[in-house]
């Protein structure tokens, strides 16, 4: 039933369509829309589904390399890892739902990214996450952190995929808009990747998995709008997760994929049946006819609009070879999941949706899929407050500064969080969270292992988005390198404020510029990703947060190194130290200032230093390795000492730098290595023209600073491990 012009205009606005977009939809249809048609346009043209503000910038990112099997555009990216296998991976945000309902928001974020991976034929082997929360002083933050951590664990632990890594930062800019970015990696035979483009007119369109209910209707539209003060009233748009059903869906889909029954497959994520049907038929250049009376429903009396826009979880859409339909049905019945033929592919180029015999939507696919593309106005982001290092006249002593820094929310131990995530499931976890710069997961039955990390330093991005974008990629690449892995490719999750704010778009464009340069310099292409805009509440945007999920490979898992020192190892610093304090955590925590430009990123130095470090690790010269990032050199050394439960005696630093700048500056492209033979390593570095500096030696039970002041490991550990349990238990 078509709706009247006046009503439909009001509804269009309510659904998030601009007047121009609404006019365009009308022109495509040639008549007033039905409410279902309007809902389909609104969902497909939402920022979340269409990338209408970000697409023109995303084109600038390098996406190719000889090892890339599938770049952006499918459910996930795919890279060849050797032995005839491929790694399938992607990261996706679930920011808005996690603010409204932290447990379910985070849980369904994990479930959604898992489906993107096994949709492509890969068995998920590891999950990671990147979390950003508001000021810990805000009581709401405590509730959100607790709910998000429980949600990630509750879903991941039950579904049977280990959660092996992640990162957490706090900043008041995330008050009211936390970020929950979830990443999953799977393994598939390289020659057997499943894709979403439908083929074969007349072939059955099959719905499998959980039943459809009224949860999450119009979630994609919610995710494409900024929050007002009434955000809590949006609770009904949050989906509810069922990890048990997801586990069954994984096993049933992978079992069916062993046969040749599947022609195309797509999970039902944002915008549910609408986006999966439109994308599958659209990519295949066909049409699709759906009879919604055949959709398995959880509730009675659901309308076409509700069924098409529901974001009920744990559902997939497939096109099957009609000759194999019964094979599929038998497998799904064995796993006690619904299996229903709900339509056919057609040659009409249109999506036609029927409910109780009536056509509720009939839209040509090509113009529907060609969502609006916006070149939003840009404005230069404001420069950070200036910072003159010479203005620091009374730096606190090193020992109290270190104890404060290792205990602050951004640097303290995350053990309380990791201890709630099953990280050993699968029996392949070579390096668990907190024991190395990247998680190291062996591929079952193989010598090779994947290295995985998530990284971003939002305060750098806020101060200088281009440098921050490059730094996020450089740090991910460094973390993979620090375990001995060869970085292969990355997935990204670009979390920003409203694209309608020119300053936000200016940050977005600059971050992409920095990222693109880093990808090129490091041979580290983007193979999948997600953009999350409108991350703001009451007009205040989050810090620009382009999170990078990096994937690397170790041909032999035995070559992986962690960050734990052992007695007798000598510490050597690779890279140059200029004592850069702008945007450092030392400046923020000890002086209360978020000021100055972030440390410059020298991509050539990153590449040279990283390649040298990796060569030395693979050559067997390195027993422990840690990149130097947040908190600087002394924090990195303290973390290595704590991981190995062994003290360190530090040498005198170079005389030309103030001690606080040398030990807490955040210069990039640096690593601390623990080696048995420092002379040999220094000689190798010198031969390769890589800057290297002897820092000290591991042993005893104290971290002894130059000048002889000793901090016991017990005191260091107490400071490091206090925050989370004291705050949340």
């Amino acid at each position: 039933m078509r709706i009247e012009r006046a009503t439909s205009q009001v509804l269009a606005t309510e659904f998030g369509l601009t007047p121009d977009e609404y006019a365009r939809a009308l022109a495509i249809l040639g008549h007033e829309p039905t409410i279902t048609e309007l809902g389909i346009f609104a969902a497909m043209w939402s920022e979340h589904c269409s990338y209408k503000s970000s697409r023109i910038w995303l084109r600038e990112l390098p996406i190719e390399a000889s090892w890339v099997i599938q770049g952006p555009g499918e459910n996930a990216g795919v890279v060849a890892i050797g032995a005839g296998l491929a790694a399938v991976f992607k990261m996706e945000s679930h920011n808005h739902p996690s603010f409204i309902e932290p447990y379910q928001g985070a849980a369904t974020g994990v479930g959604g990214i898992l489906r993107d991976i096994f949709t492509m034929g890969a068995r998920p082997i590891a999950s990671l996450n990147a979390l950003r929360f508001g000021d810990p002083v805000d009581p709401a933050t405590r509730r959100i952190v607790d709910g998000v951590v429980r949600g990630i664990g509750g879903y991941g632990n039950c579904v049977g995929v280990p959660t092996v890594g992640g990162e957490i930062n706090f900043h008041p800019a995330y008050n009211g808009n936390p970020l929950v970015n979830a990443m999953t990696v799977g393994i598939a035979p390289a020659g057997r990747i499943f894709r979403s483009a439908a083929a074969g007119i007349g072939n059955p369109v099959v719905y499998v998995g959980a039943r459809t209910g009224r949860d999450g209707i119009h979630g994609a539209t919610m995710a494409s709008a900024a929050f007002d003060a009434d955000a809590a009233e949006k609770k009904p748009t949050v989906q509810v997760g069922d990890p048990f059903t997801e586990k069954l869906l994984i096993e049933a889909c992978l079992e069916l994929m062993e046969t040749d029954a599947i022609i195309a497959i797509q999970d039902m994520g944002a915008a549910g049946l609408t986006s999966s049907a439109v994308e599958m038929a659209g990519k295949g250049g066909l049409g699709i006819a759906l009879d919604l009376d055949l959709v398995p429903l959880r509730e009675s009396g659901m309308s076409a609009y509700e069924i098409m826009l529901s974001e009920s979880q744990e559902r997939m859409l497939m096109v099957l070879d009609p000759a194999r339909e019964e094979v599929g049905r038998a497998i799904f019945e064995k796993w006690e999941l619904d299996f229903a033929v709900i339509g056919q592919l057609t040659d009409t180029g249109r999506i036609v949706v029927r409910r109780q015999g009536r056509v509720e939507a009939d839209i040509p696919l090509r113009p529907l899929a060609a969502a609006p593309l916006y070149h939003r106005p840009l404005a230069a982001p404001p420069a950070p407050p200036p910072f003159d290092p010479a203005s620091i006249v009374d730096p606190p002593a090193l020992a109290p500064a270190l104890l404060h820094l290792v205990g602050c929310p951004d640097l303290c131990s995350r053990a309380w969080v990791w201890d709630q995530y099953d990280s050993t499931l699968g029996g392949q976890t070579v390096r668990r969270p907190g024991t190395a710069d990247a998680a190291v997961i062996r591929v079952e039955g193989q010598a090779l292992a994947l290295a995985l990390t998530t990284d971003c330093t939002p305060r750098y991005c806020a101060a200088d988005a281009e440098t921050g974008g490059a730094q996020a990629i450089a740090e991910a690449w460094r973390n993979l390198t620090a375990v001995g892995a060869r970085p292969l490719a990355l997935t990204d999750n670009l979390n920003f404020g409203s694209p309608e704010n020119p300053v936000v778009m200016g940050q977005f464009a600059a971050a992409i510029r920095g990222m693109a340069a880093a990808c090129r310099a490091l041979d580290f292409p983007v193979v999948s990703g997600n953009v999350s805009l409108y991350n703001e509440t009451a007009g205040t945007a989050i810090l620009p947060t382009p999170v990078i999920g990096g994937l690397g490979i170790l041909d032999d898992a035995r070559q992986a190194v962690g960050l734990a020192l052992s007695p007798g190892l000598e510490l050597v610093l690779i890279g140059l130290t200029a004592g850069w304090l702008g945007q450092s955590l030392w400046l923020r925590e000890m002086k209360g200032k978020e000021a100055g430009p972030p440390p410059p990123v020298d991509l050539l130095a990153e590449r040279r230093h990283g390649d040298f470090v990796r060569r030395e690790i693979i050559g067997g010269a390195v027993r422990a390795c840690h990149d130097v990032s947040d908190g600087g050199l002394l924090v990195a050394i303290a973390e290595m000492a704590l991981a190995g439960s062994v003290g360190v005696r530090l040498a005198e630093p170079p005389a030309d730098l103030a001690p606080h700048a040398f030990w807490f500056g955040e210069d990039q492209a640096r690593y601390v290595l623990g080696v048995a033979d420092a002379e040999a390593l220094l000689a190798a570095a010198s031969a390769a023209r890589i800057p290297a500096l002897r820092l000290g030696i591991a042993g005893g039970g104290d971290l002894t600073l130059p000048g002889g002041i000793a901090i016991s490991l017990a005191a260091l550990r107490e400071a490091h491990e206090r925050f989370f349990p004291a705050w949340l238990d």
Binding site: R150, G153, C158, F244, K247, T424, G427, V430, R442
Partner: protein
């Protein structure tokens, strides 16, 4: 040894178990769907970890009523061997094949970390390759591992020597800091009266490879393979 691994919907550590058994026997164990009832030819039935049927009722409660559980009960009555780890332990208590219950962890949070297990008895097919009093590390990963039973049952388990493993400190002492989930009398694993059924919460199967956390769990599987060699 002919081992079979039971698959309930929602079980998720069956691959880990299969790897451990393949490591000590050189052959893949048989995988048993929860609706199978013919266990003939099998010496050992293994119920691995996971979330059977989502554990949406009580952990293990639904699985305890699956068709295969009747067959496992008959297998046990014939003197067959059964190993239940984590969810498997919970299922065995729900099915009444082992006494007691696994309650929510005392912290009310899911715990995933290494624990230290003290071996309490070594004259069994499960523990014969450990030393009495030996302490080994294994990961635990559960939300409901807090072993509980009435005092009489706990006294009987201890009196009859049916406690297999206890949570301990690294040097083998019983102390609250070693008993991570708050289990009664620090019990991490128990035997049936005939010593042929073992239920334990931690995952020895995830400690059979020097590269993946070490081989502390390997003696359990090597002991089984040696004792049940046929």
């Amino acid at each position: 040894m002919r081992a079979g691994i039971t698959i309930f919907p929602g079980i998720n550590r069956e691959r880990d178990m299969a790897i451990a058994f393949r490591k000590v026997t050189g052959k893949p164990p048989r995988m048993l769907w929860h609706q199978e009832t013919d266990l003939s030819g099998l010496d050992l039935i293994v119920i691995p970890g996971g979330f059977s049927f989502g554990d949406y009722l009580r952990a293990g409660a639904m699985a305890a009523h699956s068709p295969i559980m009747g067959a496992i009960r008959r297998h046990a009555e014939r003197g067959g061997y059964v190993l239940g780890a984590c969810n498997g332990f919970q299922i065995l208590t729900e099915a009444g094949l082992l006494p007691g219950a696994l309650l929510r962890n005392a912290s009310l949070r899911f715990l995933s970390m290494d624990c230290h297990l003290r071996v309490e008895r070594t004259d069994t097919v499960f523990t014969g390759h450990y030393q009495r009093g030996q302490v080994f590390r294994a990961p635990l990963a559960h939300g409901d591992g807090n072993y509980s039973a009435d005092e009489a049952t706990l006294d009987r388990l201890e009196g009859e020597g049916l406690v297999a493993f206890r949570y301990a400190t690294e040097d083998g002492h019983l102390a609250p800091e070693g008993n991570l989930n708050g289990s009664a009398r620090a019990i991490a694993g128990i035997f049936s009266g005939n010593l042929r059924i073992l239920g334990l919460m931690p995952h020895a199967e995830d400690r059979v490879d020097p590269l993946v956390g070490g081989t502390d769990g390997l003696p359990l599987f090597e002991g089984l393979a040696a004792a049940l060699a046929a």
